[in-house]
């Protein structure tokens, strides 16, 4: 899976993964993809809610041994 920027939000608790994600998205262009990893189990629902409310698109989500990886494509401006 291709991505343009990668962020590690592992071992961070609510709301830090979302705040890191927001910051990461501000550093890439529309249409580009941010890969972000988190270990907070609440982040699964939170990232869905974040995308639903902001219009960014989650193109893929993986889970491996308690690590959640989200691929989020930045919305058009």
């Amino acid at each position: 899976m291709q991505f343009d920027k990668e962020l590690d939000a592992k071992n961070l608790n609510c709301p830090l993964p979302i705040l890191r994600c927001k910051k990461g998205l501000s550093e890439i262009a529309s249409g580009q993809t941010l890969k972000i990893m988190a270990t907070d189990p609440g982040s699964v629902k939170d990232f869905e809610a974040f995308c639903k409310q902001t219009g960014h698109v989650m193109t893929r989500r993986d889970e491996d041994d308690g690590v959640y990886t989200f691929y989020i494509k930045k919305r058009a401006e």
Binding site: L12, P15, I18, L19, K22, D40, Q53, T54
Partner: protein, 155 residues
């Protein structure tokens, strides 16, 4: 048009410092326009030094304690400091943000922080006690924004 969130932060203990800053920073990340009005003990959360924030088990029977502790023990000198130390350690261990970190996130995201001028006068606070990224105002200032907000919470 962006949604709006208006918060009143009225408490100044370490535990109660979390809800306003968590909600405000998250709402800002969700593209809300956010204002927090800090009044009474909440004003403590705008001080330059947040190191004085404490948590007390006294009068808070729901607070999980490492060992059961009756009220008359909780009132002994030093217990509050120990409880605060334990809480801060837990916060660090669990990857929970510090209040300073969340407050900075709010400031960076453009959350407007308003200090209640009346409380500043009441408690003889000095403007130099506070961080510089704030405004001072009263109840009418709060309602100017709150009246057109989608979400209003008193914390």
């Amino acid at each position: 048009m962006a949604k709006k969130l208006a918060l009143i932060a009225s408490k100044g203990s370490l535990d109660w410092a979390y809800p306003p800053f968590i909600l405000a920073s998250t709402a800002a990340a969700l593209d809300y326009e956010v204002q927090i009005f800090f009044t009474f003990y909440g004003l403590t959360l705008l001080k330059k030094d947040l190191g004085d924030l404490k948590v007390s088990p006294l009068g808070n029977p729901a607070m999980p304690m490492p060992i059961p502790m009756p009220n008359f023990v909780q009132m002994l000198p030093g217990i509050e400091s120990v409880a605060t130390m334990i809480m801060k350690q837990k916060i660090a261990d669990k990857g929970v943000a510090s209040i300073e970190e969340l407050r900075n996130a709010c400031i960076e995201a453009g959350v407007k922080l308003i200090a209640c001028q009346m409380t500043v006068d009441l408690f003889d606070f000095k403007k130099s006690d506070f961080i510089t990224d704030i405004e001072f105002g009263g109840a009418a200032t709060f309602f100017e924004f709150a009246g057109e907000s989608n979400v209003n919470l008193f914390i």
